[in-house]
């Protein structure tokens, strides 16, 4: 049996009901590719900044990394990886879209939009975790204010 991956088309031949993207769409894709790479560089800066502030926070603590900070370490590493992943997918989305436009390559175009899909799935996950963390933060503040009889 011939096994091929479902994500990558092995050949491209347009069928009768398919049509060229046209100048306008290609113009929009060109701008999308440009801003996607810029956004990715921004996300990489954000990741690096998060890493630096996180390490600074751990080093400043007297107990340091030795005791009780394993949870913080894991939490930091996971959030770093997730944000870096967003930058990675956005960067390759921009790069592959640009290559598709330059080389008139349909397979690159479809691969680029697969990268966008990965970015959006990861983005959905990050947004959900962000929501949960913020709700927890609200809950903590509520109990803190309650314990000081502020509510």
């Amino acid at each position: 049996m011939d096994l091929t991956t479902l994500d990558e088309p092995i050949d491209f031949t347009p069928s009768e009901n398919e049509r060229p993207a046209g100048e306008w769409m290609e113009g929009y894709w060109d701008k999308t590719a440009y801003w996607a790479r810029n956004l990715a560089f921004g996300v990489f800066f954000f990741t690096a900044w998060m890493f630096v502030t996180y390490v600074w926070f751990l080093v400043k603590q007297e107990s340091g990394i030795r005791t009780g900070n394993v949870v913080y370490l894991i939490q930091g590493a996971v959030s770093e990886l997730m944000i870096a992943g967003l930058g990675y997918f956005m960067y390759w989305f921009g790069v592959q879209l640009r290559r598709a436009l330059q080389n008139r390559d349909q397979l690159q175009l479809e691969a680029a939009f697969l990268k966008l899909r990965s970015f959006l799935i990861l983005g959905l996950l990050v947004a959900a975790i962000w929501c949960v963390l913020l709700v927890m933060q609200y809950y903590r503040i509520y109990f803190m204010l309650k314990s000081y009889n502020q509510l």
Partner: protein, 155 residues
Amino acid sequence: MKTDETTPTPSEKSTSGLWLTSRMMDLLAANARIGVHATILATIAGLLAVILSVATMWWVWTQYADTSESEAFYLLEGDNLYKVVQFLLTFSMFFTYFKGVLTGFRAFKQLKRSAEDDEALLEGSERLWKTLYWLTLWIAIYAVSAILEYISLGN
């Protein structure tokens, strides 16, 4: 039956350009479905973060407000300039973030209908690059704000 002689048959079509293939349209629709949910969650998270951020800012300002001296406000006195710049940057971040996320929501809503509506396909694609533009501005303002904070900590 009349046939248009200028329309190429599938075998005659050149594959060198970029095409709106059915696979490509499926990809756009699949992206749009995920994108709509992602932007809704990002809007909720953004709202929660903004409320928390504004409340914290207000609390810090009321707790550490300097009321010992005259009530006159001088921009270059103490760290007033830094506080004002940070305040403006924070609100620019709120604006660009929500502008980006809401533009993204509209883009994905239109791209969802792109298979049957050409206008939606074009407008959705235009809004997609605008989403990335606003989010890039947001992250650039964040970078300026973070660098300023670092400089102020150093002083």
